[in-house]
């Protein structure tokens, strides 16, 4: 069995080596943990599938004394044929020399068979200062690929491409922070082109990573559906005694209910971030200030993610008609569609009634059965306003989109925002009605399999529509 391909990510200090590794290894801890230029030891990041390693990335320290290394090599080489041996001799000679610790650390995996991924910053102008590094790497004789990362705003890609082309087999542009997932896969395929034996494992890795992404999307939308069901059905309860102040109790329960909904939304976000292995994500969203701004219960949130009364009435009619059609089916069509019509009218009327000003009709205090020991059970919730489901869903989909499309090299806080047009425009009419029905009839408990599956399917469709919407230019806000 042949050893899996290995790739040493090398370069000048602070040119984004760790960012490249963080993005490709999907590990945001790498980009966060290290101050630029402080990597002193190599770190290995194997990609394994069920324990079988397909390839390995090695994050290495930057060159510290390339000119001295090159001078030593030139002084100890007799001809072009002994260059790789001379590099090995250099490492053997200087393994214990603290001055060349970093060079030995980065050259060792290359001499042990790793391919070279040389990283430069395409945002700064090309200068010949790094030619000593490139020359050393060329002396190793190993397959090599140059990656032009862009850390800043400048654009000197053409100059870099021309220069790097003289030293490396393949030259690729790769923005570790902003490159989309398909570009990651394309880059991995590029690694496979460096040696004939590497193509198959890299292709296999690409397929697994693509499947993993699909699986994560499915799981994330499942988490959203679960949270949605939880939030739509949640009720706060307390004991109400005869002499208690009803208004005060209602106010207290409403506050607890809202706080709990906010916490549940935060839990969902953490779960989605953990699923995509963003463990160091700092979220920046105006809603963090819960008293205003983009609070879950603010008017701004409704405007951003809620729907119009016309939409509610139309979708409510459709959802009601879907239910009423069941009666027609039971009547074997003899009711001439009356069931669907009545269901539709009732659905539209209910949606219109409760879909008024957001937050006014979220819930109301209900007094339930007497309790042992006196008093009655008082309950606030579940939510009555159909807008709430759309607001929660829209915010959750936006967060999921941002997290799933964020590279692990990103260090900027996550900014959640919305566009001018509504994502529901991308959802086909039938799916809108099914979504409305699922939001109106969420599963009351975890074993309510039929409703749960309906909601999961509706959220899955909504996720697909949201992705389509995000591809439109007006959605970027």
């Amino acid at each position: 069995m042949t050893a899996p391909p290995r790739f040493a990510v090398v370069g000048h200090p602070n040119k984004g080596k760790s960012s490249i590794v963080a993005t490709l290894a999907q590990n945001d801890g790498i980009a966060i943990a290290l101050e630029p230029g402080t990597t002193r030891d190599s770190h290995h990041y194997p990609l394994s599938v069920d324990g079988h390693v397909l390839y390995e990335l090695i994050d290495t320290p930057g060159f510290q004394r390339p000119r001295k290394v090159l001078a030593w090599l030139q002084a100890h080489s007799a001809s072009a044929s002994d260059r790789a041996d001379t590099v090995r001799a250099f490492v053997t000679q200087h393994r214990d020399d603290p001055r060349f610790h970093d060079e030995c650390e980065l050259l060792t995996p290359i001499l042990d068979g790793a391919g070279i991924l040389y990283v430069v910053d395409g945002a700064v102008p090309y200068s010949p200062e790094q030619e000593a590094e490139m020359e050393i790497l060329r002396w190793t004789g190993r397959p090599s690929l140059a990656l032009i990362n862009r850390i800043g705003q400048g654009d000197h890609l053409a100059d870099w491409r021309a220069a790097l082309g003289q030293y490396f087999q393949i030259v690729r542009d790769f923005d570790a922070v902003r490159a989309p997932f398909d570009t990651h896969l394309s880059l991995l395929r590029g690694f496979g082109q460096l040696a004939p034996d590497w193509e198959a494992p890299l292709e296999e890795a690409v397929n697994h990573l693509r499947d993993q992404r699909r699986h994560r999307q499915h799981r994330a939308l499942g988490l959203i559906a679960e949270a949605l069901a939880d939030m739509l059905t949640h009720a706060e309860s307390a004991r109400f005694n005869e002499h208690d102040n009803r208004d005060a109790l209602e106010h207290d329960l409403a506050r607890r209910w809202r706080d709990r909904q906010r916490r549940r939304e935060q839990t969902l976000r953490r779960d989605v971030e953990a699923l995509y292995r963003h463990r160091h994500l700092h979220r920046r969203e105006q809603q963090l200030d819960w008293d205003g701004g983009h609070d879950l219960f603010s008017e701004q949130a409704r405007r951003a993610w809620g729907v119009s009364r016309t939409y509610l009435a139309t979708a409510g009619f459709g959802a009601g008609a879907l239910g009423g059609a069941g009666i027609d089916a039971l009547a074997a069509g003899h009711s001439l569609g009356t069931g669907a019509l009545i269901g539709g009218v009732l659905g539209a009327a209910g949606s219109l009634y409760y879909g008024g000003k957001y937050a006014d009709k979220l819930g109301a205090l209900k007094l339930l059965a007497p309790l042992a020991g006196g008093g009655r059970r008082a309950e606030f919730g579940p939510v009555r306003d159909p807008q709430f489901g759309y607001v929660v869903l829209g915010r959750a989909l936006e967060h999921w989109f941002q997290v799933s499309h964020r590279n692990h090299a990103g260090r900027d806080p996550l900014t959640l925002d919305h566009g001018d047009r509504h994502w529901l425009e991308q959802l086909p009419r039938g799916d809108r009605q099914r979504l409305q029905k699922a939001l109106q009839n969420p599963p009351r408990h975890q074993s309510d399999g039929k409703r749960r599956q309906a909601l999961e399917q509706a959220v899955e469709n909504a996720g697909g529509a949201f992705l389509e919407w995000r591809k439109t230019p007006s959605a970027s806000g």
């Binding site: 200090p13 602070n14 290995h44 394994s48 510290q64 390339p66 000119r67 953990a274 309510d448 749960r452």
Partner: protein, 445 residues
């Protein structure tokens, strides 16, 4: 390993809730590994019971079922006591002369109706006593048990009913054994002995073929009729005891056996519902997905962040006007903005693209008797090359020559590594100047 679907449901739900605190990566890795071990042994993925055995810690949540066990026990006890009392009441209150068979049959009918109604509410998922039970238990039942409340209540009621039926039967048999019971039949309805015989004959249908002794004949029916206002004694008192085999078989066939059958049905329905709930449990689909989806691990090792302490910033000097030499390190270029401040300083280059010989030449040409300013790019971290150059410079110019590192910077972000670099060198004559704004074109980022 648990085999009862109800126990399996509870164990699975408890594990599912514990797993919600774990990371998705851990769960996937753990469950996929289990599936792979089975796959390598040529087996299918583990069943839920096997999975629970493998991942669980052997704990079984007993609290959720404890309440129902108590309720079951209470109902069985109450049913048993009530069965004895009811049968004694029937035998004594309607006696002592003759025990009315019609009343006995009415009790059988009531019991049968109750059993069927209980089964109906359980099958329909209706909880007529739900509010009462909830009041007695302020704690909410375990989430997994909530949808099973009607079936659990139905099973408890059938168990109580069976206890009632069995103890009543035993009481009847005991009374037959120790007492001289006389049975007769009476009704206000205008009915004849043959019609009444037709009724009992129909009721005896299940055992008529194999136990004819327990089927009253027309003579017995005719002889045992009595009227409340009739004071005469029956023609043959010994004949009236002949009802008992029929009554025992009636109670057995129409009360005890239906209760037993419905209890078994309730138990089977409960198990069926528990199995369906388990099948529809949200955790099951996710678990199967984890079993079948390959575990892709892209390396979880994050380099340990070394806590770096940046020395407290000391007053940063400006390059002195008596500077003798300005060295542009590794291509750092201030576009001539510094020179007017440095008087007659000589400008030299080192590092970067320059060769090591050029570095040595720069050291030789520099005026080591006066302060030396080295221009560096703040956004490039200090390298070993620069450290070597400074070592050589010290050797050339002596320990007293002031060396000032003048960073070109676009902002303050890159300065910390330079402050630490200067502190690490422990060179009293080496200082870091306050940054000079970099020319945007030259700095690019």
């Amino acid at each position: 390993m648990s085999s009862s679907p109800l126990r399996l449901l509870l164990d699975f739900d408890a594990q599912y809730r514990r797993d919600r605190d774990q990371t998705p990566a851990f769960l996937h890795r753990r469950d996929r590994r289990l599936a792979l071990v089975r796959e390598q042994a040529g087996a299918t993925p583990p069943s839920l019971a096997e999975w629970l055995h493998a991942v669980g810690d052997g704990r079984h949540p007993t609290a959720p079922l404890r309440r129902w066990r108590r309720l079951n026990g209470g109902l069985v006890l109450a049913g048993g006591v009530l069965g004895v009392l009811t049968m004694l009441g029937l035998l004594y209150v309607t006696g002592p002369a003759r025990i009315n068979v019609t009343l006995f049959l009415a009790l059988v009918l009531v019991q049968l109706l109750l059993a069927v109604l209980t089964a109906g509410q359980s099958l329909a998922g209706w909880r007529p006593w739900g509010a009462l039970l909830d009041r007695s238990d302020p704690d909410q039942p375990a989430p997994a048990l909530r949808p099973l409340q009607p079936q659990l209540a139905g099973r408890a009621a059938q168990a109580g009913g069976l206890a009632f039926a069995v103890t009543a039967l035993l009481t009847l048999l005991a009374q037959i054994l120790v007492r001289d019971l006389a049975f007769g039949w009476s009704t206000t309805l205008q009915t004849s002995a043959p019609a009444y015989h037709g009724l009992v004959d129909a009721l005896a249908w299940p055992w008529r073929g194999w136990l004819p002794a327990a089927v009253p004949d027309l003579n017995l029916v005719a002889q045992s009729r009595y009227f409340r206002l009739q004071n005469g004694q029956p023609a043959d008192p010994a004949l009236l005891g002949g009802w008992w085999p029929f009554l025992v078989m009636t109670w057995l066939c129409y009360v005890v056996l239906p209760r037993l059958a419905l209890l078994m049905l309730a138990q089977a329905h409960l198990r069926h519902r528990a199995r369906r709930l388990l099948r529809d449990h949200p955790g099951v689909a996710a678990l199967c997905e984890r079993f079948t989806t390959p575990w892709v691990d892209s390396g979880d090792e994050a380099p340990a962040a070394v806590p770096l302490t940046t020395p407290a910033p000391s007053p940063a000097p400006q390059p002195p006007s008596e500077t003798g030499t300005l060295i542009r390190w590794a291509g750092a270029d201030d576009q001539g903005r510094l020179r007017p401040r440095l008087g007659e300083a000589r400008v030299l280059d080192a590092g970067g693209a320059a060769s090591l010989e050029q570095d040595r030449d720069t050291l030789n040409r520099a005026n080591g008797g006066r302060p030396v300013v080295i221009l560096v790019r703040a956004w490039e971290p200090p390298t070993g090359d620069l450290a070597d150059f400074l070592d050589d410079a010290r050797a050339h110019w002596g320990a007293a020559t002031p060396i000032l590192l003048q960073p070109l910077a676009t902002d303050d972000r890159g300065l910390a590594p330079w402050q630490r670099f200067v502190a690490r060198r422990q060179d009293a004559a080496l200082q870091l100047c306050s940054p000079l704004p970099a020319d945007q074109e030259a700095a690019a980022p």
